[in-house]
Amino acid sequence: MHIAVQDAPFDFGMEAEEFARARAVSGAIVTFTGIVRDVDGGLRAMEIEHYPGMTEAALTEIADQAVTRWSLEDALVIHRHGRLAVGEMIMMVATAARHRKDAFEAAEFLMDYLKSRAPFWKREITQDGAEWVAARDEDEDALTRW
């Protein structure tokens, strides 16, 4: 299991490739990547604050749960903090399982928990100033699935 909380960019392609290559028995690999996007125009950067210490523990706990519940061979979570430009990758998860259904469900579970239960806070920087991103009800609701 690989959990990383980091300021530095990560190489999505390389991480995905290595994750897939290292699996001995898994036939199914799912990855998810989140990218800073400028939906309304005018976004200059995204700042991500986190809770050092708790963040790593929360991500490890979430990944442990996913591995156990879906009998994953492995799971990966990388999440950046600090200042990110539009187009930069914020985070990625990867899951390795024998069957695709498990790999998909586990990746969705990881994302749903990451969104609402890992201590990250996003702030959008535009020309008009900075604004904290509000949590969405639908992200909280997504947890009821699990």
Binding site: M54, A58, M111, R117, P119, W121, V133
Partner: protein, 82 residues
């Protein structure tokens, strides 16, 4: 003594990221009431606790959670990771 941490707009409103607090608070809510009574910026930050989340010793919990033995309490808005 207990470390109290603030994140995101809670940190901005209170003006500091962390502080050591001398308290006999039995629950998180007791601590919130003590902080609210200090100054306006605390009262403003804790005005609506339904907009807040709390972690005791880095575990998410509720405002009715006991504080006995706790070393670190953190207040922050709902998380927006991913």
């Amino acid at each position: 003594m207990m470390d109290v941490l603030y994140f995101a707009w809670v940190r901005e409103r209170i003006g500091i990221p962390r502080e050591a607090v001398e308290t006999q608070a039995v629950t998180v809510m007791d601590l919130v009431d003590e902080l609210r009574a200090r100054e306006d910026r605390y009262a403003a930050a804790f005005a609506d606790i339904t907009a807040l989340r709390v972690a005791v010793d880095q575990q998410l919990t509720g405002f009715d959670a006991p504080l006995s033995g706790a070393r670190e309490v953190a207040f922050f808005p709902p998380m927006t990771g991913g």
